[in-house]
Amino acid sequence: MREAAKPVHNPIRIDEQKCVRCDLCDWVCPGDLIVHEEGNKEKLPVVAYPDECWYCGLCQSICPTNAITIVFPEQMIHNRTDVVSLLGKVVK
């Protein structure tokens, strides 16, 4: 049960110039992915667990300065999975 060493896609892009270092994205993320030290006006929020993103966009929708963009990975945008492979194996 080893983990595949794939690079992790970051779905939550934060524009350093626009970000005002408020705590809203941290507060609103339902998956506890975005971490920002409360009240710290120096540090950017960190997307600590990018592979646990639901792509709900709540962080983007709440951001007061439109600093956040949700970027979908290639396997979501151009998906090539054979749907039949998801429909089970038949064991006689």
């Binding site: 983990e3 998956g31 639901w54 999975t81 749907v83 429909l87 089970g88 038949v90």
Partner: protein
């Protein structure tokens, strides 16, 4: 007990601050009870299962016509649920719908169409009337959150409940921890409401991303798993639910699509749904998913969504409601470069979840009586973790019923609660420390992948006795590896607990599926070795409870309410 424990005494502990949980808290607060809510998120202003707003609400309104009366909808329950329904509980939920709907309006929820000032009611999912109100419910949950805050409930956010406390088949609290601060809570309560939602991250989907799921990936069957460990009975756990999603993005929005008139076509351009149901795209969700699964297996895939025939006004409404349910869906289409107004959109079958198998009022989860109380006294359940589930409305109504049941239960509760057992508390802590301090070990991601692969291959939409037995063996081996799971931090510790809960739900599902030797509701429970629906022998509930060697099964005729199988005194009607 060691330091860093906070002990709290309350009347009601609510697990989960979604629609069901907040609706349960409200009548308790109104009755003057002390309420503690534990919520894994940070705010109470978003819906638990969809994370944002609501675009439709199912209700009878008793507005005059026969179809709009509770009794009319109740009469149709057996056909809507393929005969597997707790008529007592579902009947009460439906009868209470108009009252709870009016309560929600009194909280400030505006169900009316902004342009016309009337309710925009649509027919969908095979229901025998236009019961779905299509509305802009962006603020729906904010009103409930506000109500709870005004009632002065104690809300513990970023806090996961990991173990219920019971004695003599009666619940009296829970252990929980805050996964940001590491603070542990020992909470004693006269009643507990479990409202932690459905089970997701349990099978694979097209994108292969575990958290790309149609329903909320942070709902991981915590209530079902904890309830099971505490001795509560579960029912309908054999039934799985899938939906149709844009391929690559498992997102909500199907209801809006079909109720506004979208079509599904196969690779030949055939509008195939009518081959499966005379209602076509307006069939129940279970039928829609089943039809698409069949088309894919017949080699008629890919399946496409076709909106090209719709008038501009409908397309505009569709574009608007889509982002109410999932804010990022327009961005997905944009990044993909697809215009759904003019082009076909490829559709996939989503990953599975355990919720209500695409069938309203037949929930898969904790069996409850007409007060929302489980087989464990003072332990209630509502929303998608309970056996009567009906989306947002089902969560709101059964949640409120459970809250009122709690008020009665607390009035009759013994004046003193059992003391917290320090050994039990320390056992939870040392188990957590074991995951956090482990140098090597198994990652929760890899552990979960094994569960998902096993469910997808052998417990998913095509089941056989031998496949299910194989799955149960694999899931059993996995359970032995649970102590080896490694958590990198407190957040990871929360995920480790979720992974254990997902695995346990998979085991319960496989056990129930093996017991039900028939096929019912198409691919919601499709046994290739028992392909027919067997009305003579299987008009029954499959109940799963904790046995001496793992999950144990009982069956109960659907002529009885599930509470007939409860060991505690018969339900107070």
């Amino acid at each position: 007990m060691k330091e860093n424990w906070t002990t709290l005494d309350t009347d009601l502990l609510v697990v989960g601050g979604g629609v069901a949980g907040t609706m349960a808290a409200i009548p308790a607060l109104e009755a003057g009870l002390k309420v503690v809510i534990c919520e894994k998120g940070k705010v109470l202003d978003h819906c638990g299962s969809v994370g944002c707003g609501v675009d439709h609400y199912l209700t009878v309104m008793d507005s005059g016509p026969e179809w709009d009366s509770p009794e009319f909808l109740i009469k149709h329950l057996p056909e809507l649920t393929d005969g597997i329904v707790d008529l007592a509980v579902a009947g009460r939920v439906i009868r209470e719908m108009p009252r709870i709907f009016r309560r929600l309006e009194s909280f400030g929820v505006d169900f009316k169409d902004r342009q016309t000032g009337t309710y925009y009611r649509l027919r969908s999912f095979g229901l025998p009337g236009t019961y779905h109100i299509n509305f802009d419910g962006t603020d729906f949950k904010k009103h409930l959150g506000e109500r709870v805050r005004k009632g002065k409930a104690t809300v513990l956010t970023r806090t996961m409940v990991v173990q219920l406390l019971t004695r003599d088949n009666r619940a009296y609290g829970a252990f929980a921890f805050n996964f940001r601060t590491g603070e542990w809570y020992a909470i004693r309560a006269k009643a507990v409401v479990l409202a932690a939602g459905d089970v997701n991250r349990i099978s694979m989907n097209a994108s292969g991303l575990a958290f790309d799921s149609w329903h909320f990936p942070y709902n991981t069957g915590d209530a079902q798993a904890m309830g099971y460990r505490a001795g509560a009975a579960l029912a309908n756990m054999e039934s799985v639910e899938a939906t149709l999603t844009p391929k690559g993005f498992s997102t909500q929005g199907l209801n809006a699509l079909v109720s506004l008139g979208a079509h599904f076509v196969n690779k030949s351009g055939e509008r195939f749904m009518f081959r499966y149901d005379p209602k076509g795209e307006n069939a129940r969700r279970a039928v829609l998913a089943d039809a698409a699964i069949n088309e894919y297996l017949l080699g008629n895939g890919p399946i496409f969504l076709d909106c090209r025939h719709l008038p501009q006004e409908m397309l505009d409404r569709m574009a608007h409601t889509l982002q109410v349910d999932r804010y990022t869906l327009p961005a997905f289409y944009r990044q993909k470069g697809v215009n759904f107004r003019e082009e076909l959109v490829e559709i996939s079958v989503s990953e599975l979840s355990i919720r209500r198998s695409g069938v309203y009022f037949r929930g898969s989860g904790l069996a409850v009586d007409t007060n929302g109380e489980t087989s464990v006294e003072a332990l209630f359940a509502a929303g998608d973790c309970a056996t009567v589930s009906g989306g947002i409305a089902g969560a709101a109504v059964l949640g409120h019923i459970a809250g009122e049941g709690v008020v009665q239960r607390v009035r009759n509760a013994p004046s003193t609660l059992p003391a917290i057992d320090p050994q039990a508390a320390e056992a939870v802590r040392s188990q957590a420390a074991g995951h956090l301090e482990r140098a090597g070990g198994v990652s929760w991601r890899a552990f979960e992948d094994e569960t998902r692969r096993t469910v997808t291959d052998y417990v998913g939409v095509r089941r056989t006795g031998n496949g299910l037995k194989l799955a149960l063996r694999t899931l059993h081996v996995l359970s032995a590896r649970e102590p080896q799971m490694k958590a990198d931090d407190l957040h990871g510790l929360m995920r480790v607990h979720e992974s254990k809960n997902i695995r346990l739900n998979a085991e319960i599902m496989a056990t129930a599926s093996l017991a039900r030797q028939e096929t019912r509701t198409g691919s919601a429970h499709w046994r290739l070795d028992y392909p027919a629906t067997d009305e003579e022998n299987w008009r029954k509930f499959v109940l799963v409870e904790r046995g001496a060697d793992g999950p144990a099964v009982r069956t109960l005729s659907t002529e009885h309410p599930l509470s007939h199988a409860f060991a505690r005194s018969a339900a107070r009607a």
